[in-house]
């Protein structure tokens, strides 16, 4: 196909097709993206949303797409001790269910390989982890200067211009989701791809998950599938005894998961 024919078709689609094909929010957001100057889409009202995520362990295949996509989307340091999301592999032996063998080689960035034969009785599964965007977040509670906070739409974010790098929040997070970015000497963590979800897109990890194990949810949206999902599945959060108000809901969360 010749270049001019392609660009003519592009223009045609841009002008007419988008009015039909794309949703209202994505449409406006697309304009911003197309102009190369993405800002918060003007019709985004934070108080209309309360974001969370469903992670379905029964669907996770341990491919590591989410880890790679997150690092690419958010410019996360490529070292093996800085992850906004990572995947853990659990091997639960039948005779020692409370002593699982867990590993997360480079956070699951390169996927996993079979390490050894565990035998027929072993139960093996993958658990993606991330910031739980807690509604009663202990990390927000301990920040001395208001550099980390929960946005009006339920996303826990970091203000890198105010963070002191004291690491109190890193100690306070029960899930180990925070790290220090050595380039800015401030704390960093999953932002639930705030720059994407405010434009009607989904997060990078959900976009690239091939099995739909990770799904962004909006708890304030009555039409969001999460409501039906919670009704029909056995859903849990990590470390419920800490009462953090975690908004990362797991389906199929085995008792061995830490």
């Amino acid at each position: 196909m010749s270049a001019s024919a392609t660009s003519n078709r592009r223009d045609f689609l841009k002008d007419s097709g988008k009015w039909i094909l794309l949703t209202g929010a994505a449409m406006l957001a697309w304009d911003f993206v197309a102009e190369g100057a993405p800002e918060q889409a003007p019709n985004y009202n934070a108080t209309d949303h309360w974001w969370g995520m469903i992670i379905d362990i029964e669907k996770c295949i341990g491919c590591g797409n989410c880890v790679r996509a997150c690092k690419a989307e958010n410019g996360v340091p490529m070292t093996d001790d800085a992850f906004r999301t990572w995947v853990e592999r659990y091997v639960v032996m039948p005779d020692e269910p409370d002593k699982p063998i867990v590993d997360s080689p480079n956070g699951g960035y390169d996927g996993f390989v079979n390490l050894k034969q565990y035998g027929d009785g072993a139960k093996v599964f993958f658990v993606p982890k991330m910031c739980n965007h807690c509604a009663h977040s202990p990390c927000v509670q301990v920040c001395p200067v208001g550099a980390t906070f929960e946005s009006p739409d339920g996303v826990v974010l970091v203000d890198k211009t105010r963070c002191l790098g004291c690491r109190y929040c890193v100690q306070a997070c029960p899930y180990g989701c925070r790290y220090i970015d050595p380039r800015t000497e401030t704390v960093d963590k999953c932002t639930l791809c705030y720059h994407r979800i405010t434009k009607g897109l989904t997060t990078a990890c959900c976009e690239t998950c091939p099995t739909g194990a990770r799904v962004l949810v909006d708890l304030k949206n009555p039409k969001d599938p999460i409501h039906e999902f919670m009704r029909t599945h056995k859903v849990n959060v990590l470390k419920p005894q800490m009462a953090t108000g975690s908004k990362t809901y797991y389906n199929g969360l085995d008792g061995a998961v830490r």
């Binding site: 990572w86 982890k129 202990p138 301990v142 790098g165 306070a172 989701c177 830490r258």
Partner: protein, 398 residues
């Protein structure tokens, strides 16, 4: 590569709080303890420890000045630390601590020292010339009223400040314990006993520090060490130590008995990674031996020379042991994974931002500052008995 055993969350591989954060509670603890010793004389009229009153205040000030420095060194952005005063998050123990520190420094220590030393400051101001005169003029705020009435007012206000200072000292170091004790994510730290344990170990280390400084400075100045004084200090040290030891044992026994999920991980850690620092240094060398030494003084009539040796050895061991206690809390709390499935190692470098060298410098610095303070505000009064009568209105008795 990171020295990991078992499984740790990927973001946990490196420790976040280093030896500088071990040093910080150690230094503020010495402040609180030194002040409590000073208040023994002032508020509870334990006249025997009077020779150490001013020395204890100056020691507290010297350590308090240095205490924030390891914190600043540790921060990713120390140039933003003013934010803690300008936008303090009221739910954050660390933010509120900034004000507790400021209160303690300015209102309790600086004011009390000023009221106590004002007479000498004015006399020095009157008697000096040139730059020294300017300097002392500033220190006295150019007010040279040292009439008995004015001094009586100073004495009364100083007394009030000391009474206020005792709970302030408790707050100062209890807060540091609360900073750790309130972190529910970390079972090694999360206990309501943490502020109390921190406070009592602070009192122990502070009293031991002043006792040692008194003995060393007296030896250097070739003056007599008052045995009544050190015997009394050692007695209070002994009592405080018993309470501290009881609290730490209570925490340990409770953990072992309740045996919840975290115990297996912690138990393994204490037996392996923390064996030397906790069992050997903190418990045996730092607690059992000095406690036995101090206890022996209560039951055996040692000679003065023997008692001095016992106090010196016990004092040094206590200082080491309490440092080990801070180490075991801060570093120990980060050696195991929050998944309870693994352990990492702490690599202490030497000449880096958070290495051993800056830690040693911060440990030495308070003594240099104390030396300077002792020159500006000499704690050795030539007319000690006169000043004593001024205070107590009676002759001093043991």
């Amino acid at each position: 590569m990171h020295g990991v055993q078992g499984f740790m969350y990927p973001n946990e591989l490196e420790l976040q709080w280093s030896i500088l954060i071990v040093l910080y509670p150690y230094l503020t603890g010495l402040v609180a303890g030194a002040f409590i010793l000073a208040s023994l004389e002032r508020v509870f009229n334990v006249a025997a420890v009077k020779p150490t009153y001013r020395l204890a205040l100056l020691t507290a000030l010297a350590f308090l000045i240095v205490a924030p420095l390891p914190l600043q060194m540790h921060l990713g952005h120390p140039e933003r630390s003013w934010e803690m005063y300008v936008t303090p998050h009221t739910t954050s123990a660390m933010a509120m601590f900034g004000f507790v520190y400021l209160w303690y420094l300015m209102v309790v220590l600086v004011l009390e020292i000023w009221f106590d030393y004002r007479r000498e400051l004015v006399l020095t101001w009157r008697g000096s010339t040139g730059l020294k005169r300017q300097f002392y003029g500033v220190l006295t705020l150019w007010s040279d009223n040292i009439s008995p009435e004015a001094l009586a007012i100073d004495h009364k206000l100083g007394g009030i400040l000391t009474v206020v200072g005792i709970p302030s000292a408790f707050l100062l170091h209890g807060y540091v314990g609360f900073i750790f004790g309130s972190i529910k994510a970390n079972p090694w730290w999360s206990t309501p006993l943490m502020p109390v344990v921190f406070l009592f170990s602070a009192i122990v280390s502070g009293i031991a520090a002043v006792m040692l400084i008194y003995m060393v400075t007296s030896t250097l100045r070739k003056t007599e060490i008052s045995m009544v004084c050190v015997d009394t200090i050692a007695k209070y040290l002994y009592y405080a130590f018993i309470v501290d030891f009881t609290l730490e044992m209570l925490d340990l026994i409770h953990r072992l008995y309740v045996a919840d999920e975290s115990l297996l991980a912690l138990d393994f850690m204490v037996k392996t990674k923390l064996f030397y620092s906790q069992i050997v240094v903190q418990i045996i060398i730092g607690t059992v031996v000095p406690l036995a030494l101090l206890a022996s003084v209560q039951f055996v009539r040692w000679s003065a020379g023997a008692r001095k040796a016992i106090y010196a050895i016990a004092g040094v061991l206590i200082m080491i042991g309490i440092f080990a206690m801070r180490w075991n809390v801060v570093i120990g709390g980060q050696l195991f994974s929050k998944s309870f499935l693994g352990y990492t190692t702490y690599k202490l470098d030497f000449a880096t931002k958070e290495g051993l060298l800056p830690a040693l410098i911060f440990l030495v610095m308070p003594f240099l500052i104390l030396w300077a303070l002792v020159k500006i505000l000499p704690p050795w009064e030539p007319d000690a008995t006169v000043a004593g009568e001024l205070r107590h209105g009676t002759s001093t008795g043991a």
